[in-house]
C-alpha cells in the first residue's frame, strides 16, 4: 500500500507541458511511474512512439531524469546497454550512486517489433523494469492493428467493412509470455488505480533482476471514447475482467483487484467507438463470444491464483 502524502513530498520527475493528447493514458502512466521512484536516481529509455515523440520535442523535454531514445524496436536492448555500462562503471568505482533503470515501450514496440529485444534483455537478467504502456494498437502512426489489438476492434489496418468486423485474430498474451521467461516479477495493471500501479512499480524496482509490467493504457483517439471517460473506460476493463490486475512473483499468481461484482463486458465495449459495430443486432453473437472468452480466461486466472 502506497502513502500518497509521502509520495507528494518528492518533486515531479515527469513534468507537464508535454504534447500528449487530452484523455491519453500514456502521460498518466509515465507520471505515476516516475512518482513511484521517489528520490531514487533513474535512467529511462523509451521506444519510438507517442510517449517519446510527445515528451522530447527538441529543445524541450518533460523528463527531469536522464532519458534516452534511439529507435523503435530496441528499448529493452538499449536499457540493457545502459545497465551494463552502470555495472562496469560502478565496479570500477567511477559511479557511486545506486541507479535504477526503466524501459518504456508501447504495445507495438513491445508485443511486435520489440519482442525479440525484450525477450533477450529479460533472458540475460538485466536489472531493469520494462513497462509496456499498452494502448492496443499502433496509435502514434494512426491506429493500426498490433499483436495487442483485441479481436473485433476496429483499426485502420483491420478496418470494419462489409465483409469484416474488425480484427479477426485474438491478441497475444504477452504477460504470460513474460511469465514464461522465468523472471522475478511480472504484473498487469491499468490506468485509473494509482495505488495498484505505483505499488507494482515500487515492488518491481526493489527486486534484483528484470521485471515486466503490462499497463492497459487507454488511447482517446484509437479507442474513441469521450476524453473525460478515460478513468471509467480503464476501470471497466478491470471490473469486467477483460483486463485483470494481477502479479506473478516467486511462482505465485496474485489477483490484485477482484471486482465486488463482475460487470458484463458490454459495459466496457459500449463506450468505445472501436467496438461500435458489435452493437448492431446481427452481431450479438460476437458480443456473446467475447463474454465467453473473458469468462474462461478469468476462471483460468482465478484457478492459477488459488
Amino acid at each position: 500500500m502506497v502513502n500518497l502524502r509521502e509520495l507528494s513530498k518528492y518533486p515531479e520527475r515527469f513534468t507537464g507541458g508535454h504534447r500528449l493528447c487530452a484523455g491519453c493514458g500514456a502521460g498518466i502512466v509515465a507520471r505515476q511511474v516516475m512518482i513511484s521512484t521517489c528520490d531514487i536516481p533513474v535512467v529511462v529509455t523509451s521506444a519510438t512512439g507517442c510517449l517519446e515523440v510527445s515528451t522530447t520535442i527538441f529543445p524541450y523535454t518533460a523528463w527531469k531524469n536522464s532519458f534516452f531514445h534511439s529507435a523503435f524496436e530496441n528499448s529493452a536492448a538499449t536499457c540493457s546497454g545502459i545497465e551494463a555500462a552502470y555495472k562496469s562503471l560502478k565496479l570500477q568505482g567511477k559511479i557511486k550512486e545506486n541507479i535504477k533503470f526503466i524501459a518504456f515501450g508501447g504495445d507495438g514496440g513491445t508485443y511486435d517489433i520489440g519482442l525479440q529485444s525484450l525477450s533477450g534483455a529479460m533472458e540475460r537478467g538485466h536489472k531493469m523494469l520494462y513497462i509496456c504502456y499498452n494502448n492496443e494498437a499502433y496509435m502514434n502512426t494512426g491506429i493500426q492493428r498490433s499483436g495487442a489489438t483485441p479481436k473485433w476492434a476496429h483499426t485502420t489496418t483491420a478496418p470494419v467493412g462489409k465483409m469484416c468486423h474488425g480484427k479477426r485474430e485474438n491478441k497475444k498474451d504477452l504477460t504470460q509470455i513474460m511469465i514464461a521467461h522465468d523472471i522475478p516479477y511480472v504484473a498487469q495493471t491499468y490506468v485509473g488505480n494509482w495505488n495498484d500501479l505505483i505499488s507494482k512499480v515500487q515492488k518491481a524496482l526493489s527486486i534484483e533482476g528484470p521485471s515486466f509490467i503490462n499497463v492497459l493504457t487507454p488511447c482517446r483517439l484509437g479507442w474513441n471514447y469521450k476524453t473525460d471517460n478515460i478513468m471509467t473506460v480503464s476501470r471497466l476493463a478491470v471490473d469486467t475482467c477483460i483486463w485483470p490486475s494481477f502479479e506473478f512473483e516467486n511462482n505465485i499468481y496474485k489477483i490484485n483487484v477482484i471486482p465486488i461484482k463482475k460487470k458484463p463486458v458490454v459495459e466496457f465495449l459500449r463506450i468505445q467507438g472501436r467496438f461500435k459495430h458489435l452493437f448492431k443486432p446481427e452481431n450479438i453473437h460476437i458480443l456473446e463470444s467475447i463474454q465467453r472468452r473473458v469468462d474462461n480466461k478469468w476462471e483460468l486466472l482465478k484457478r492459477k491464483a488459488s
Binding site: 527538441f58 532519458f67 529507435a71 545502459i82 529485444s117
Partner: protein
C-alpha cells in the same frame, strides 16, 4: 616482413581475428555487446574468454541479435562507457538502422568489422559490400591490408572516435586476414593504454547530477543543423585522423596516413585499391619495376572521411589509373571507390588522367598476381594509346556466359 619498430614491442604470430581480440583486450573497454557471425565470431569468442578469466574489467553483453548489439553498444556509450562491438556482413546489415543513430548521436563507438559478402546468394567469404553499404552512415571507416595494420588501426580508432565524437569501424578482409596467421608486432599493455588514454565524455546519461535527454525528436526547425554538424564533424575528423597517426608514429614508430603510396612518385600507371589485395598488388608492382615498367599503387586506408581534396593531387602525374572495387553498387553506373576518386579529380581540376574501374573478388573470388598483371598490361596499352579506356565497369576473373 614485419619488423620491430617499437623498442618495447614484441613479435607474435596471430590471425587477424586473434589480433583484433588482442587489441580489444589492451583497450579494455567498459562494455562490449556482440553477436556471433562468421567470419568475425572468433573475435568475440576470444574476448569472452578474457572476460571469463578476469583478464579485462569489461562488462560483456551477449545479445540476441546484431541490432541489439549495436543498440546496447550505443546505449552503453551514451551512458558514459567506452563501448565496442564487432560484426560482419549480414550482421552489419541488421545494424544498419542503428549505425546512423550512433553517428547521429555523436557516440564514439568502435567496431571491429570483418568484411564479408552479402546475401543473396549466401556466401561467407570476403568482399567489401557490407561496409560499402554503410559508407554514408556517418562512420569513420578504416581498412587494413594485414593484421599489423588491423591492430594499429584498432588502437588509433579509439582515439580518433573519441576526439571526433564519431563512431569508427576498422575492417579486415574475411578469412584472408581474419583467419590467416601472420607475424604482428604488439606493444605492451601499459603503452597502449597510455596512448588511448581514459574516456571522459562531456555529457553522459549516468551522470545523475546533470541528467539530460538524448535521442529527442528534432523537426524542421533543428534537424538540418544537427545533420550538418555530423557532416562537418566528418570533415573535421580528417585533421584528427592525421594527428592521431602522427602521435602513433611518434610513440610506436609506424607511419599511417589517409592512404599509402607504393612506388607512386614516378609511376605512369597505377592501381588504387583497399584491403588485403594491396599486398598482392605490391608484389606485382615490384616485378613490373624490375622489367622497367613504371607501375605504382595507392592503397586507401581511410575511406570515410574520404580525402577528396588531396588524393587526386598525388595522382595527377599518372597517365592511367585502375580503381579496383571489391563491391558492386549495382547502380547502372560505377562502383563506390571509383566514384569517389573521380570526384577528387574533378574538383581538383585534373582532367588529363585516364581512370578505369574494375570490380574484383566478390564472394571471395580469387584475385591472383596474374589478374593484377593483366590489369597493369591493359593500363600500359591505354597509356601507349593502343587501347581506349573502357567506359563501363570491367569485371575481373568473372565467367560472363554459361561457362
Amino acid at each position: 616482413m614485419i619488423k620491430i619498430m617499437y623498442p618495447k614491442g614484441k613479435l607474435v604470430t596471430k590471425t587477424g581475428n586473434e589480433i583484433m581480440a588482442e587489441a580489444m583486450r589492451q583497450i579494455e573497454p567498459d562494455v562490449v555487446a556482440a553477436y556471433p557471425i562468421t567470419p568475425a565470431t572468433e573475435i568475440m569468442q576470444i574476448f569472452s574468454q578474457f572476460v571469463s578469466d578476469g583478464t579485462v574489467k569489461t562488462e560483456y553483453v551477449a545479445v540476441e541479435s546484431e541490432h541489439s548489439a549495436m543498440s546496447a553498444t550505443i546505449a552503453a556509450s551514451a551512458a558514459g562507457a567506452r563501448a565496442m562491438t564487432g560484426t560482419s556482413s549480414q550482421g552489419l546489415c541488421l545494424m544498419w538502422e542503428m549505425l546512423y543513430i550512433a553517428s547521429g548521436l555523436r557516440l564514439p563507438v568502435v567496431m571491429a568489422e570483418v568484411n564479408r559478402a552479402l546475401s543473396a546468394p549466401i556466401n561467407i567469404h570476403s568482399d567489401h559490400s557490407d561496409t560499402m553499404g554503410a559508407r554514408d552512415s556517418g562512420w569513420i571507416q578504416i581498412y587494413s591490408e594485414n593484421s599489423q595494420e588491423a591492430y594499429d588501426n584498432m588502437i588509433q580508432a579509439i582515439r580518433i572516435a573519441e576526439l571526433a565524437k564519431l563512431p569508427t569501424l576498422v575492417t579486415t578482409d574475411g578469412f584472408i586476414i581474419s583467419h590467416c596467421m601472420e607475424v604482428v608486432e604488439v606493444y605492451p599493455d601499459d603503452d597502449v593504454k597510455e596512448f588511448i588514454g581514459d574516456y571522459k565524455p562531456d555529457r553522459y546519461l549516468l551522470d545523475i547530477k546533470r541528467p539530460y535527454t538524448l535521442g529527442s525528436i528534432t523537426l524542421q526547425d533543428y534537424y538540418f543543423e544537427h545533420r550538418y554538424q555530423l557532416a562537418k564533424a566528418m570533415i573535421d575528423a580528417k585533421c584528427i585522423i592525421l594527428d592521431v597517426a602522427k602521435s602513433f608514429k611518434k610513440k610506436f614508430g609506424r607511419k599511417y596516413d589517409f592512404y599509402e603510396t607504393y612506388m607512386l612518385d614516378d609511376a605512369e600507371i597505377a592501381i588504387i585499391i583497399m584491403g588485403s589485395t594491396s599486398g598482392t598488388v605490391k608484389v606485382v608492382v615490384d616485378e613490373l619495376r624490375e622489367k622497367g615498367i613504371k607501375a605504382g599503387l595507392l592503397k586507401i586506408r581511410i575511406y570515410r572521411p574520404f580525402p577528396v581534396d588531396q588524393i587526386a593531387k598525388d595522382l595527377a602525374h599518372l597517365k592511367v589509373i585502375a580503381v579496383m572495387d571489391r563491391a558492386d553498387s549495382c547502380s547502372g553506373s560505377f562502383a563506390p571507390l571509383y566514384l569517389d576518386i573521380i570526384s577528387s579529380f574533378y574538383v581538383s581540376e585534373i582532367l588529363n588522367v585516364k581512370i578505369v574501374n574494375y570490380i574484383y573478388g566478390l564472394g571471395g573470388r580469387e584475385i591472383s598476381t596474374a589478374h593484377i598483371f593483366d590489369i597493369y598490361k591493359t593500363l600500359d596499352k591505354i597509356a601507349l594509346g593502343l587501347e581506349k579506356p573502357f567506359k563501363q565497369v570491367e569485371y575481373v576473373n568473372l565467367r560472363k556466359t554459361n561457362e
